[in-house]
């Protein structure tokens, strides 16, 4: 695995302003923001799959969209190789689009219901002027459909999304993202809408077709899937990365109390290993203007005085295993 980063994220923040209803906006001077992504920095290396794991509302989907500039961040930098993509103009960004693709969570939503499979899969080729004529278009689409095990491709090319099963749709969505051989793909919970029995097929195809791309950012709320799919895992909580390391490290040697809680809570399909209570208390606090302290403070059973005063930084505790916790900094 090469260690040259393909994506570098530096101090990325995205705050969504909350528009107070009528009177309240007059009455309060304080501006309210949802801190969806709050000062996040990390690298994604070439040929690497980075897993981004977190609960709903932790900002993982927002982060994924920021990386390919489907959303404009509030501050910070995102480098694709050596280009700061946030400094590009709209048209320059469009030229870069083929290099970075996204697979969305819901295959029922992400495919235009009025387009055929052929047009859907070929769209990235067409909008980026990568094909000459219809024959080439059909050839390329047939090729990728075959790779996605949608055979024979002629059977599928002229169908509409509603004529396909959920798994087939998601394979179309993957084909769409991979047909232009991007360097980097954001996969936003690509299998969470599917039955467990069909998930494996999509995941296998994504691994097999990694030759077509270089790196994935794999967003998921399931640690179990990330553990097997990803080379490295980043655990996100309330807009910040809590822990990051190789997937083996994260699963076998979790260093952040939140990661441990997540691992304890992750159900195991084995009735003999029923676990007892999770070591966590309370509920997730509101992401609106969170106080400047450890985000996990209110739920942590080990919290100390320092945790209520200082927001911990993400520090390397050895071998690229990084933790943002006052209690686990070496």
């Amino acid at each position: 695995m090469s260690q040259t980063p393909i994506i570098r994220v530096r101090n990325l923040r995205k705050l969504f302003p909350i528009r107070g209803g009528g009177l309240s906006s007059f009455l309060t001077k304080e501006e309210l923001f949802v801190h969806a992504v709050d000062d996040v920095s990390f690298d994604i290396n070439t040929d690497e799959v980075l897993g981004l794991v977190g609960e709903s509302g932790c900002g993982k989907t927002t982060l994924g969209r920021l990386l390919i500039r489907l959303l404009e961040p509030t501050s910070g930098e995102v480098y694709y190789r050596d280009t700061n993509i946030l400094s590009l103009s709209q048209s320059e960004m469009r030229e870069l689009r083929p290099k970075m693709q996204i697979i969305f969570q819901d295959p029922y939503e992400s495919l235009n219901p009025r387009m055929t499979v052929l047009d859907l899969v070929a769209e990235p080729l067409e909008v980026n002027d990568l094909i000459e004529n219809d024959a080439e278009k059909e050839e390329k689409v047939a090729e990728i459909l075959e790779q996605m095990r949608l055979t024979p491709p002629e059977e599928f090319m002229f169908r509409y999304p509603h004529e396909l099963s959920g798994g087939q749709r998601q394979r179309i969505a993957v084909a769409r993202a991979l047909i232009i051989h991007p360097d980097f793909v954001v996969a936003d919970e690509p299998v969470s809408m599917l039955d467990t029995s069909t998930r494996g097929e999509i995941l296998n195809l994504m691994i097999e077709l990694k030759a077509l791309t270089r790196s994935y950012l794999f967003i998921t709320h399931e640690l179990a899937v990330a553990r097997h799919f990803c080379d490295r895992i980043a655990i996100m909580y309330l807009g910040r990365i809590m822990e990051m390391g190789t997937s083996d490290e994260i699963v076998k040697n979790p260093s952040h109390p939140y990661t441990r809680a997540l691992l304890e809570a992750t159900p195991v399909p084995n009735p003999k290993s029923r676990k007892e209570k999770v070591n966590i208390k309370g509920e997730v606090i509101s992401p609106i203007n969170p106080p400047r302290r450890c985000r996990f403070y209110t739920r942590c059973l080990m919290a100390e005085e320092i945790c209520s005063r200082l927001e911990p930084e993400l520090v390397d505790i050895g071998g690229g295993h990084m933790v943002a916790c006052h209690l686990n900094q070496g």
Binding site: E55, T198, A224, R227, H228, E264, T266, V268
Partner: protein, 325 residues
């Protein structure tokens, strides 16, 4: 003693495109004080089966035949009024999928619980509210939160409030339909702990319907595997997980990735193909198009019957795993 016994139950939906045999000859048993899991892919008929125990089917659906016995009494032939007054909610309650939709957004939570009590008892309002607050306390919600509206509750709290509502009339049996789906793992775990605790404390019987067998592994004593409208395997949960005899069951279990594995897997297991359309299920064993062990006999009628593996383990398969025939 069995709390609920259903045999050869058939539930059909009559749609414009034809008859959907959502439940097609199902035997189902819930022993007192146990929790029974019902697993299957989306569209296999598991929710319909759950609803049919409460006779709460949508307008175009009906129980066509079979028998339904609750605590030794036939409830299949009860008329709607008697069923509503004596069975539904007071004896068999349900926790629905998606708590946000099941709670009325314009009423306070404690009022909604008290309303549920009112339908089945003639207690005074004050008494009912007190009961509602006790119930909230039982499901680990601060009783003073009862005065709030559902939208002020988090997803986990709403699901707890739903459980409190199911407990309102002190039922014998609770049917939980995907009780933890769409909840975060930590909340899911807490909820499962709560259900386990309540079951033990109140001597409840539980039916848990889920597509997520890891949830069932945590919660249940027995497991039913449903495929295309039929139960294909039934047994004690540990037995089933250790020694699944149906190829579908094995598929379901092995496709589930686990964090506990020592090694990072490079390949994921999956069951090829998609579940059949219940308008026109395949002949013979309904799983045969996706089954690795299918032979000629599997494609022919009749569909395989449940056969006994042991006292508490049955499977409906011509070539069960582990058999060398």
């Amino acid at each position: 003693m069995n709390v609920l016994e259903a045999s050869d139950l058939k539930v059909y939906y009559h749609t414009a495109k034809g008859v959907v045999r959502a439940v097609d000859g199902v035997d189902f048993i819930v022993e007192e004080g146990t929790s029974v899991g019902l697993a299957g892919e989306s569209g296999c008929g598991k929710t319909t089966l759950g609803l049919s125990f409460l006779k709460l089917l949508p307008e175009n659906g009906a129980i066509e035949s079979g028998s339904l016995v609750f605590e030794g009494d036939d409830i299949y032939s009860l008329d709607e009024k008697t069923f509503r007054e004596n069975i539904r909610w007071s004896q068999i309650a349900m926790i629905f999928q998606g708590a946000m939709n099941a709670l009325n957004p314009v009423f306070k939570v404690e009022d909604q619980i008290s309303e549920a009590i009112k339908l089945h008892s003639n207690k005074k309002k004050k008494e009912r509210l007190q009961m509602a607050r006790d119930l909230l306390k039982k499901v680990d919600i601060d009783p003073t939160m009862g005065r709030h509206y559902p939208h002020e509750f988090s997803g986990g709290m709403r699901q707890r409030a739903m459980i409190a509502m199911a407990l309102a009339c002190d039922p014998k049996l609770i049917i939980a339909d995907e009780p933890t789906t769409a909840l975060d793992v930590i909340v899911q775990k807490q909820l499962m702990d709560l259900l386990r605790r309540l079951k033990a404390e109140m001597n409840l019987s539980l039916i848990v319907i889920s597509h997520d067998i890891s949830v069932l592994a945590e919660l249940c004593d027995y497991l039913n595997i449903m495929y295309a409208g039929r139960i294909v395997e039934w047994g004690e949960i540990e037995e089933i997980f250790e020694n699944p005899r149906h190829h579908y069951t094995h598929g379901l279990i092995s496709t589930f990735p686990t964090v506990e594995d020592e090694e990072k897997k490079s390949r994921f297991e999956f069951i090829p193909g998609a579940p059949p359309n219940l308008l026109d299920p395949p002949l013979g064993c309904r799983f045969h198009p996706r089954c690795p062990a299918a032979t000629e006999i599997c494609m022919q009628e009749p569909t395989p019957e449940m056969r006994r593996i042991s006292e508490k383990h049955y499977v409906a398969c011509h070539h069960p795993r582990g058999d060398l025939d």
